[in-house]
């Protein structure tokens, strides 16, 4: 007698997990396409349009690169949090605070760019780290879940940026409604409109990958994240690692905000983050929190986000992109669980 049964493994094998990711992304895009089809649109034609407008011209590639960069920063920020067992849902707010702090320095501190730019970067990273400080301390010392505290800080950050951009820091030219004056300094460009924000992010991904995978520190952080009890028993400074990585996560998202305001937008304005922080969570999840994987998933999500922008005349918005992101996330969560199952073929002895 042959029979089949399912066995659930404690963890999926990397190959199966990767395949499940791929299948869930395709299934999510197919579902989105089906919904568009039902709404009377031509999903294949729209998809072809996105691909040709994105990759068909150097403008398209440059636009893509400008979306790729902030998603890298936010994706890395969320990914390193996941490594230490933390859900940093507040990358959106930290990104805003990074932009806010950098803009503050750029607008109100006079000096040569060689001095001002590093100062902006520093201010932005500190801003991002400060924005996650209270959730960090609450998690580390009082066991309060960081999930909701980091998220609620997003709303405060958005309101803060909106407040200064429409009030005290409003462009005095009288033309603008909700934006500051153009920043006097900018992150230098390397190609067309693509600035140094992108190569720096790629470099950071490599550095983080090495730090997490090949150093004693990275090993301790990972153990502390996956099994705090054991890590503590082995004498690892679990709390110190937790605090450091959370603050680093905030600083990374903040750095993304610096690059956005000083390299891409050049002004601080309401809605400066195109949901980058929220999509960054998706980037980190798709990459299974691996810094190098973040490069691939951020590029993919940049294409999706860019697609939403290209298709705006068809009635889609960045909010539509958020819905598609959610669809991918849902399928990925389901795929993750399915990837853990293995079909066993058993032969039962006849008696």
């Amino acid at each position: 007698m042959m029979s089949y049964r399912l066995q659930r493994l404690p963890a999926a094998s990397p190959a199966v997990a990767f395949a499940a990711r791929l299948v869930s992304v395709i299934a999510a895009l197919a579902t989105a396409g089906l919904i568009l089809k039902l709404a009377g649109m031509e999903p294949l034609a729209l998809g072809a349009k996105v691909i040709s407008s994105t990759f068909g011209s150097s403008f398209g590639i440059a636009d893509l690169a400008l979306l790729f960069s902030p998603l890298l920063y936010c994706g890395l920020a969320v990914a390193i949090g996941m490594r230490v067992g933390v859900w940093n849902i507040g990358a959106e707010g930290q990104f805003n605070l990074g932009a806010f702090s950098a803009a503050g320095v750029g607008l109100f501190v006079a000096g040569p760019p060689v001095l001002i730019l590093p100062l902006m970067v520093l201010a932005g990273m500190i801003g991002g780290a400060l924005w996650i400080l209270i959730p960090t301390l609450a998690r580390a010392y009082a066991g309060v879940s960081e999930l909701i505290t980091t998220l609620l800080m997003n709303f405060v950050a958005t309101l803060l940026v909106y407040f200064v951009a429409t009030g005290p820091w409003l462009d005095s030219s009288g033309m603008a409604l909700a934006t500051t004056a153009r920043l006097p300094v900018a992150i230098p460009e390397i190609w067309d409109i693509v600035h140094w924000g992108l190569p720096v992010a790629l470099g950071l991904a490599v550095v983080l990958a090495i730090a997490f995978n090949y150093t004693k520190w990275g090993y301790e952080v990972r153990i502390g994240g996956s099994n705090p009890g054991n890590a503590l028993y082995a004498g690892m400074p679990v709390r110190r690692h937790l605090i450091f990585v959370m603050l680093l996560s905030g600083a990374l998202a903040g750095l993304g905000g610096v690059m956005e305001v000083a390299g891409t937008v050049h002004r601080l304005q309401g809605g400066i983050s195109n949901n980058f922080g929220y999509i960054g969570i998706m980037v980190a999840v798709l990459a299974r929190a691996a810094p190098l994987g973040v490069i691939v998933s951020a590029l993919f999500m940049a294409v999706v986000l860019n697609g939403g922008i290209i298709l705006q005349p068809q009635g889609l918005t960045t909010q539509t992109v958020l819905a598609v992101t959610g669809l991918i996330l849902l399928y990925a969560a389901i795929g993750d669980e399915f990837a853990r199952y293995r079909v066993l073929r058993t032969i039962q002895p006849q008696d």
Partner: protein
């Protein structure tokens, strides 16, 4: 005095959204499922409510449609988290993204225009003529009475005074023991998660049909997340949750009054109060009183998918 009565009245009105959504979340979390999709569900319900009354101007119809949309969305979420047993945090975030994105995309035609029909105020005879309390307590739309009185009492009674409620809590605290006692863990989790989602979307319908009353992309603005936080703050108890929602309604009302009376604080700064208040309330009680952690603890089985094999 009149200002205070108005404040309390607005507190009920504003707190209703949080109270209904948080009650739904209590149902889900008590059976062991954390639903982080509340924000998206409120958005879906809010958009549905407006869309339905724009076709048929009956507020009850819009509200019921919101409940129904929430039930369907909740069943999809429960299918993923309870039947397939996918990660609850990821599936919840996904639901939030889908809800916010879908509502914004589909709701575009209704953006900015006022609701075609809204829930009217129901003055309780005699009581509403009382000098102070009349306005504060007895002059509300019908949903406020349901959300702050009927529903929490009903949920409290079922949860703590019936066998069914005991079973519910057992599933949330110790699914393996509940299973051994013959309770269907999956059925219980599936239906209460779906019902909770339905109430969250109903909160959205309340938002656009009784409170704001119009639809715009940012109309939810974190209320779903505040509702999830309130559940933790209120120790997963239905009556406490409603009282906590009232407190937050009061904070929101303070912001409105501040704006109306030209307090020397910017509107966007006043608008930060509910978020900062929520964070403070999540942290301070735990710091102030260590015993709080035990008394107000989450159900033991929260976020833990149940596998019969793992026993």
């Amino acid at each position: 005095m009149d200002v205070l009565a108005g404040l309390i009245q607005t507190a009920f009105l504003a707190g209703g959204v949080l109270a209904l959504a948080a009650l739904g979340e209590v149902l889900a979390e008590r059976v062991g499922v954390v639903n982080l999709g509340v924000e998206g569900l409120i958005a879906l319900g809010a958009m549905t409510g407006i869309a339905v009354v724009s076709v048929a101007p009956v507020p009850w119809l819009g509200f019921s449609a919101a409940l129904l949309v929430g039930l369907v969305a909740g069943m999809v979420f429960a299918l993923a988290t309870v039947v397939v047993r996918a990660n609850q945090v990821l599936a919840g975030l996904a639901l939030t993204y889908i809800g916010l994105g879908l509502a914004a995309t589909l709701g575009k035609p209704f953006s900015g225009s006022p609701a075609a029909a809204t829930f009217a105020k129901v003055d309780i005879p005699i009581l509403s003529d009382l000098p102070f309390w009349g306005r504060a307590l007895f002059s509300h739309n019908i949903l406020v009475y349901i959300i702050f009185l009927a529903l929490p009492v009903l949920v409290h009674y079922v949860m703590f005074y019936t066998r069914h409620g005991l079973n519910m809590r057992a599933v949330g605290e110790n699914p393996a023991a509940a299973d051994a006692a013959g309770i269907s863990v999956m059925k219980m989790r599936f239906w209460y998660t779906s019902l909770g989602a339905s109430l969250a979307a109903g909160a959205g319908g309340y938002l656009t049909l009784a409170f704001v009353p119009s639809w715009s992309e940012g109309v939810v603005s974190g209320r779903g997340w505040i509702a999830v936080a309130l559940v933790i703050f209120a120790g997963f108890r239905p009556i406490n949750v409603v009282l906590a929602a009232l407190l937050f309604g009061f904070i929101t009302a303070l912001g409105f009054v501040g704006q109306a009376r030209n307090w020397p604080v910017a509107a966007s700064v006043l608008a930060m109060l509910p978020y900062l208040g929520t964070i403070a309330l999540m942290i301070l009680p735990v710091l102030a009183w260590q015993k709080m952690r035990r008394i107000m603890a989450a159900p033991e089985g929260l976020t833990q998918p149940y596998f019969r094999d793992d026993r």
